[in-house]
Symmetry: C2
Subunit: 301 residues, 2 copies
């Protein structure tokens, strides 16, 4: 199944206790599609960049088999830039600056060839744009969606409207609680199932992930890491590994979903071991499969 | 293997969003030994009570096959009392009062028949008393220990001395971080292995538990609960189920330890579904085994 991802492409400046980078390749669509490309080779990106966006980054995406026809370059425009820092605990970024630039006027326009893509990933962008993308798609088979506190707090109506069309919602534990106003994660996730999604996946950082539907529950471990260099992009790498694997298998049975979540966990675990996309640039499928088997051992009893 | 547990026996007054109880049976030694008694029938308690402690509670322990010879009753003394309340998130108790009473002068004295017990559980009490108990034991085979922020902050030297004699330390995630000053849980747990324990078990509440040695790592899921009535005693019930199962099997192989952690998780999950020990009073081994199998399903991929 081909995958279409809509999200941000940007240049990130990030500082963590382990070091820092400036103007490094980043953005949700980038992490997602690179992670997915370890599993699947028909991935289409919809995003916007400025005239200043280095061609080498687009070349990199193409070496991964990612279709960049849907990335619109605005002549005279500047690429989205984000600056953030992480403190000792690495759980939450402090945003130092957000220069929306061309991203501020982003109106996703899907090339005609994209409009029948069966698997859709709506990365964390304004829910009105997410809905706008869905309106351009003919009969999607699977819609996976991410969001964040900004939209939950400020664009709740649009978000709730988008969620009606979403099959799988991927959030972190704080977002699940914020969206529902419910402290118990199981009850909160079940509440979300009444908003439209048939499945919720809750990312819990060092505590792993969980997913539930109205009749199933799965707890996935985190990969045990003694050192996290840069958490940026972990959630999108998780979603990319997850959806890339799903696209390869072509079904959404409970069994396939569980394996996909483990693959997502593995790719995310590699991603945080270096800055920006650096670890994913050298990562191999056999390294991924090795960690997958290690996680099987981690939960065995 | 017989088990000896030293800890508190008290009367708890607890308020949670689900309701409240007053002067209910509580204390670490009570939760631990009751939980262990689902698996094993040679459990010896060392604790202290006042003249006011209801005989019915001692009768209850004896119906569970728990040896109460080591519970010292102080004539004219009053039993330890604790009052606490939990807010919406149920993660941390607010202590409303602590009346140490006879517990303030507690000096554990082991009956002679207890001194060769092979499996020792040092519940969360002053580390000087934990050490005092160990000094009365001849050649223990397995020493499992709990502690809390109070002793980590105020009795660090005694705690570190006790830890040199401990095989397995069971803590929650906050205590692991506090004890080591290290944010990363994996690195923090490995640091603890340099203090004496050969194994650390980290309880993470709704996120399950994990355990590591210098060469193994296991992640255990939490049992998914939509409602927690009273978290009091969850940690001691976990330890009791864990150690009761270990005592039945009589070895501490990685395989046995993992199963024991799941049994501990299951008993703790039942315990929080009612106030005080109420759920454990009606709980059956077949209910425990059913949840054990459900947890196998929860992590399968």
């Amino acid at each position: 199944m081909s995958i279409l991802a809509v999200g941000s492409v940007g240049l990130d400046s990030v500082e963590t206790p382990a070091g820092k980078v400036e103007n490094a390749l980043g953005g949700s669509a980038i992490y997602f599609s690179t992670a997915a490309s370890f599993f699947y080779d028909s991935i289409r990106l919809v995003a916007v960049i400025g005239e200043d966006f280095p061609q080498t980054h687009l070349d990199f995406l193409q070496t991964r088999g990612i279709d960049v026809e849907g990335i619109e370059r605005i002549q005279g425009g500047k690429t989205f830039r984000w600056g953030g820092s992480y403190t000792e605990d690495l759980n939450s970024a402090i945003t130092l600056f957000t220069d929306l630039n061309v991203y501020g006027d982003f109106q996703p326009k899907l090339p005609n060839t994209y409009k029948t893509t069966p698997y859709i990933f709506l990365a964390n962008i304004n829910p009105e744009l997410q809905l706008n993308v869905l309106e351009q798609i003919t009969n999607p088979q699977l819609v996976v969606c991410d969001t964040m506190n900004l939209w939950i707090n400020n664009s709740r109506d649009a978000l709730m409207q988008t969620l009606r069309h979403v099959d799988i919602l991927i959030l972190n534990d704080g977002e699940v609680r914020l969206l529902t106003g419910e402290g118990n994660l199981i009850r909160a996730s079940k509440e979300i199932l009444t908003y439209g999604p048939k499945r919720v996946i809750v990312k819990k950082g060092e505590h792993g992930a969980m997913t539930l539907t109205n009749s199933t529950f799965f707890a996935a471990p985190a990969f045990p890491l003694e050192e996290v260099f840069d958490p940026t992009g972990a959630g999108d790498s998780f979603a990319g590994g997850f959806m890339g694997y799903l696209a390869t298998i072509g079904d959404t049975s409970e069994e396939t979903i569980r394996r996909a979540i483990i693959y997502g966990t593995v790719v995310a675990s590699f991603n945080v071991q270096d800055f920006s996309l650096n670890r994913q640039r050298t990562l191999t499928r056999s390294e991924i499969d090795f960690r997958y088997r290690q996680l099987q051992e981690v939960v065995a009893f």
